[in-house]
């Protein structure tokens, strides 16, 4: 009876575990990075957990063994209340954590440099590897190195994207291409992307879990981020820092596509009717919740919009949150909503 009960419970547990982990495998975005920076960050995580996990297991194991061995019911134990200090143990208990922290510190510095948003070494590394692979490939195909394959060896020129957050949408400006979008980020695969970020209102946090870690997006300031996507696909990006009532809807989709597709997409956006002037931007920046993440395209962007936004914010421009919105606890939200 008890056995059957136990087995049933076990099966239930297993089912639950499967439910919680199995069916959501792909959903562990940090565990399955798709870009060089995210991959470095995940490797750091694994190493740190391995090292610290060792320490924790030793400490926890000691506690468990001592509890079992010296429990009051255990007659075979030795009881020695005078054992209250020991130089050897003292040296060990200070020394081991010191060594562990020393090692982790070294590793921390290394990984900080690798993922530094302003100049991530990991990206250089990825590009170099890509270059090497490309070169090897080119050599094999064309030992004399004369063909048109050669350009592939050169690191592709980085794509620049300017990101402005508003309450509660994302504006992506492609200054070189002269286009802009709302809530849609499209980048070519295996190409470095350099972001400049600022906010028209409050602080947000730019985050695409599978591709790159977070960087704050702050009003009146410029932060930077860089990434390189290793695989085509659609990845979720969103704000990671609470910014008010529309925060939960503040997502954007990141499409990583090959170069040809990217060119095609740029041409399509260039054909859009809407244009992003300073005035048009102020209309977008009014509190708006984009419920269905509706994408907008702008075929032209007024020159210097990004710096203009920073300058205006520094000069005191604010996009107020209406009082009725923050006070209301019975109606969803009385602001503009895009359904």
């Amino acid at each position: 009876m008890a056995l059957r009960k136990g087995r049933a419970l076990g099966r239930l547990g297993a089912a639950l575990l499967l439910f919680l982990t199995g069916c959501a495998q792909k959903a562990y975005w940090l565990v399955h990075p798709k870009g060089a920076i995210a991959r470095t960050e995940w490797h750091t995580t694994v190493l740190d957990v391995a090292v610290m996990g060792g320490v924790v297991l030793v400490a926890g194991g000691l506690v468990a063994v001592f509890l079992w061995r010296y429990r009051v019911g255990n007659r075979s134990r030795t009881y020695d209340p005078t054992f209250t200090a020991s130089l050897v143990i003292e040296i060990l208990v200070w020394g081991v954590p010191l060594l562990v922290v020393g090692y982790l510190s070294y590793f921390s510095v290394k990984s900080v440099l690798a993922t530094n948003p302003y100049d991530p070494l990991a990206m250089r590394g990825a590009l170099a590897r890509q270059g090497r692979n490309g070169e090897a490939f080119a050599r094999r195909a064309d030992p004399a190195m004369t063909s048109a394959l050669a350009p592939a060896m050169r690191a592709p020129r980085p794509l620049r994207v300017e990101v402005i957050t508003t309450d509660w949408q994302w504006v992506f400006i492609y200054p070189k291409e002269g286009i802009a979008t709302v809530d849609e980020l499209v980048v070519p695969v295996r190409t470095p992307v350099k972001f400049d970020l600022t906010s028209a209102t409050v602080v947000n946090d730019f985050f695409i879990p599978e591709l790159v870690g977070e960087i704050d997006v702050m009003p009146g300031m410029r932060t930077k981020q860089a990434m390189i996507a290793g695989r085509t696909g659609v990845y979720h990006g969103y704000s990671d820092d609470y910014s008010g009532g529309g925060f939960s809807w503040m997502g954007f989709s990141t499409r990583v596509v090959d170069h040809a597709r990217f060119e095609k997409w740029v041409r399509r956006v260039r054909a859009a009717r809407d244009q992003l002037s300073f005035a048009r931007f102020s209309r977008i920046a009014r509190p708006t919740i984009n419920l269905a993440q509706r994408v907008s395209h702008f075929s032209e962007v007024q020159k210097g919009l990004f710096d203009h936004v920073i300058g205006r914010v520094m000069a005191g421009r604010v996009y107020r949150t209406p009082l009725a919105m923050t006070e209301n606890m019975t109606k969803p939200m009385n602001v503009r909503m895009i359904k």
């Binding site: 439910f19 982990t21 959501a24 975005w29 940090l30 995940w42 740190d48 610290m52 924790v56 926890g60 000691l62 506690v63 001592f66 429990r71 009051v72 009881y79 020695d80 054992f83 060990l92 208990v93 200070w94 081991v96 954590p97 510190s105 921390s108 990984s111 900080v112 993922t115 302003y118 409050v202 985050f207 977070e214 960087i215 704050d216 702050m218 009003p219 009146g220 930077k224 969103y238 704000s239 990671d240 609470y242 008010g244 009532g245 529309g246 939960s248 997502g251 914010v313 000069a315 005191g316 604010v318 949150t321 209406p322 009082l323 006070e327 209301n328 606890m329 109606k331 969803p332 939200m333």
Partner: protein, 707 residues
């Protein structure tokens, strides 16, 4: 007005008008009804039993450190329930609002809470749990235990002590009243800048938050001063620094941290209030303001604050584990050093709360290493506790279970802390629920320690033990809840889920959200058993009665030398300290119950109503400022000033309990340890005992010299 906030203003009511009372919201309405019914019931009961005088004389105006400590703990536990209910509401909202197809109720698009209501709930939850639940409980425990452990009659400044408590209570009152009058901040317990500025939070919510934090912060700063002074100046003869119980070491370290960090919070929030009231631009994005400055200032307080709460928790573990291992603490000197070291390092790590703000690799690396250094003394503590068990005789009483639970949680929380301290990892989990799981993991260490402390020291204060069976059930359900809820939350962190979401866009997060909900249901069961434990224990108090001074038989430090419940004068004669574990030393030398041959007069301060009145004035000041009823704020301020001046003229002679009276009372203990006349019914132990035996101060008491 200096600043233009939206909405009307009148002289009499400031920004307040009838619409600010959210009767249209069914949740708040029913909460209000429930609270009113409860309040009427309590007031009715107190009136029915004619206890107003007793309450006023023996509790509200008391300067006795044990009573103030008990009131701190009651306040903290009550607020912990409030914060817990907030937690249940948030978990339920997040579970209900998954995916675009999830239905919405009561005006919400999804789930049952509109975004700003949800925002208020998580902000209130965080503010309450850290500042008005865990902090008061710990301050209360320090209040009760520190003087007893060092053989003092009271705190160094009994009046200041009562004042600290009533300021904390006033601040708590502000947070509570924001439920029914107006609204609370939605900018998180950290006061996200510039979200807290008028442009983005035009209502009174942020003002409620800031004034509650201000008033409570002053209370905690004063409490820190008091504990430091008590420990430095009031130790019994013979108690050198190296004979001081380890809990006092941690209390000292924590209070130094508190004293030096709380003023930073006061300054930061004061500047924010200037922005909101006077139209300055300290933290606004434009016009020369710098919002990063606020973030820095906040965390210069915020990080030390988390060590302010964890250090006493470490001290509690260091008292409980030796008692139930029947062994002195292993590595006392190291433990004391580690406590101080943790306090010291905690000042130099604040930037790890915003590695993602774009600082260069040098800065981030520096603070990363500094943060990881905290792990060293913490690791040392864990190993020392482990070796305290080694060759001991380990019993698993309820306090020990809580302590061991805390130990396990400390290990996992330390691991994730070390992960967060690496910027490269932090970039992927900052502001995600992984961080939330980390600090709940760590704050649960504190919570477990608090429950352990309540179970451990309860008999000392009230004279009877808490029920064992229900206590164990509470422990196991609480532990299970912790594992299930925060295990799921950690996992969600690896899915990249941000914190503070009121709507969940991705259905792939639902299974783990269900796990979290299951966890919080386990917490619900645990809190049922905790209440039941209190109920059963009080009902069966005769059975759980403790007659010996040492409730556990194997305790070690000085507080176990005096009677349980502790008489109002703590120790009949001031003990002389011979050893690090004084009570254990006396027990082992057969000196457990020798009576002194001479009793001296004991001098004690008189009760005074000034601290309660001061608290009331502080509340009026806060409430007036929140609603910009400037006349009310001014009256509150004037009231405070007048009271402070009044106190300085009132030189409070105190009263003297003659030695002969002490002898009488002590003798009644000896005659039949189970049947001390006045203390027969130990509900409120200290209480009943003191009521019956303390002489009332008389007008002509003269002015004897203070001892």
């Amino acid at each position: 007005m200096l600043v233009d906030y939206p909405g009307p203003w009148t002289f009499l009511l400031g920004r307040l008008d009838a619409r600010e009372i959210p009767l249209q919201n069914p949740i708040l309405l029913w909460t209000f009804v429930l609270v009113s019914v409860g309040a009427v019931a309590v007031i009715g009961a107190v009136t029915y039993y004619g206890s107003w005088g007793y309450l006023w004389r023996e509790w509200l105006t008391s300067l006795d450190h044990k009573r103030i400590g008990v009131m701190y703990c009651l306040l903290g536990v009550a607020m912990m329930f409030r914060g817990f209910i907030d937690g249940v509401m948030m978990r339920t909202q997040q579970l209900m609002a998954v995916g675009p197809k999830s239905p919405g109720y009561m005006g919400a698009l999804h789930g049952y809470l509109p975004p700003y209501h949800f925002g208020q709930i998580y902000s209130a939850h965080g503010t309450i749990m850290i500042l008005f639940a865990i902090t008061p409980i710990l301050v209360g425990i320090m209040n009760i235990i520190v003087p007893l452990q060092i053989g003092a009659r009271d705190m160094a400044y009994p009046y200041l002590n009562a004042m600290s408590f009533w300021l904390t209570a006033a601040a708590t009152g502000l947070v509570m009243i924001s439920l029914f009058v107006g609204d609370f901040s939605h900018a998180g317990w950290v006061g996200l800048s510039p979200l807290t500025e008028l442009a983005y939070s035009p209502g009174v919510g942020v003002d409620y938050w800031s004034w509650a934090v201000q008033i409570g912060g002053v209370g905690t700063t004063l409490a820190s001063i008091n504990i430091i002074a008590t420990i430095i100046k009031m130790r019994a003869p013979g108690m050198s620094w190296t004979r001081m119980p380890i809990f006092c070491w941690t209390a000292l370290s924590a209070s130094v941290v508190g004293l030096s960090s709380f003023p930073v919070l006061t300054a930061a929030v004061a500047l924010l209030s200037l922005d909101r009231y006077a139209g300055t631009h300290f933290f606004t994005p434009g016009l020369g303001g710098n919002l990063m400055l606020y973030t820095d200032l906040f965390w210069i307080w915020g990080h030390p604050e988390v060590y302010y709460v964890v250090l006493p928790a470490f001290g509690i573990l260091s008292e409980i584990i030796p008692t139930f291992s029947e062994k002195p603490l292993f590595g006392y000197v190291t433990m004391a050093a580690a406590s101080i070291a943790i306090g010291g390092v905690s000042w130099s790590v604040w930037l790890h709360h915003f590695f993602t703000m774009g600082a260069g690799p040098g800065v981030n690396a520096f603070f990363s290493i500094a943060s990881m250094l905290v792990g060293i003394p913490t690791g040392v503590k864990v190993f020392n506790w482990a070796f305290t068990l080694y060759r001991g005789r380990v019993r698993f009483d309820v306090p020990m279970l809580w302590a061991l639970g805390a130990l396990v949680l400390l290990l996992t929380g330390g691991l994730t802390g070390m992960m967060l301290a690496m910027p490269a990892i932090n970039y992927t989990v900052h502001n995600s629920v992984f961080v939330v799981a980390h600090f709940h993991n760590m704050l649960n260490v504190v919570g477990f320690a608090c429950f352990g402390a309540i179970n451990y020291w309860f008999p000392k204060v009230f004279g009877f033990r808490l029920d064992e069976r229900t206590g164990k059930l509470a422990f196991w359900f609480f532990s299970a809840g912790t594992v299930v809820l925060f295990g799921s939350m950690y996992a969600l962190g690896f899915m990249g889920m941000p914190r503070r979401m009121d709507y969940i866009p991705f259905t792939s997060w639902r299974p783990l959200l269900m796990g979290e909900e299951a966890g919080i249901l386990l917490f619900l069961v645990a809190s049922y058993y905790f209440v039941k434990q209190l109920f059963v224990s009080i009902r069966d108090r005769a059975k759980n009665r403790v007659t010996a001074s040492d409730a556990w038989g194997t305790s070690r430090s000085l507080e176990w030398l005096t009677h349980s419940p502790v008489p109002f004068y703590n120790f009949a004669v001031q003990p002389h300290i011979n050893s690090r574990d004084e009570w254990a030393w006396r027990r082992e030398h057969g000196l457990g119950h020798v009576r002194p041959d001479r009793y001296e007069d004991i001098h004690l301060p008189d009760n005074t109503p000034l601290p309660v009145m001061l608290g009331a004035c502080a509340f009026a000041l806060g409430f007036g400022l929140v609603w910009r009823m400037y006349w009310l704020a001014a009256s509150g301020l004037v009231g405070i000033v007048v009271l402070v001046i009044a106190r300085s003229f009132q030189d409070g002679p105190g009263h003297t309990v003659p030695g002969a009276r002490i002898r009488q009372m002590e003798a009644s203990y000896a005659a039949a340890p189970g049947e001390v006349g006045a203390a027969r019914d130990p509900v409120g132990g200290v209480a009943a005992w003191q009521t019956a035996s303390a002489p009332r101060p008389r007008a002509g008491d003269g002015r004897p010299a203070r001892p």
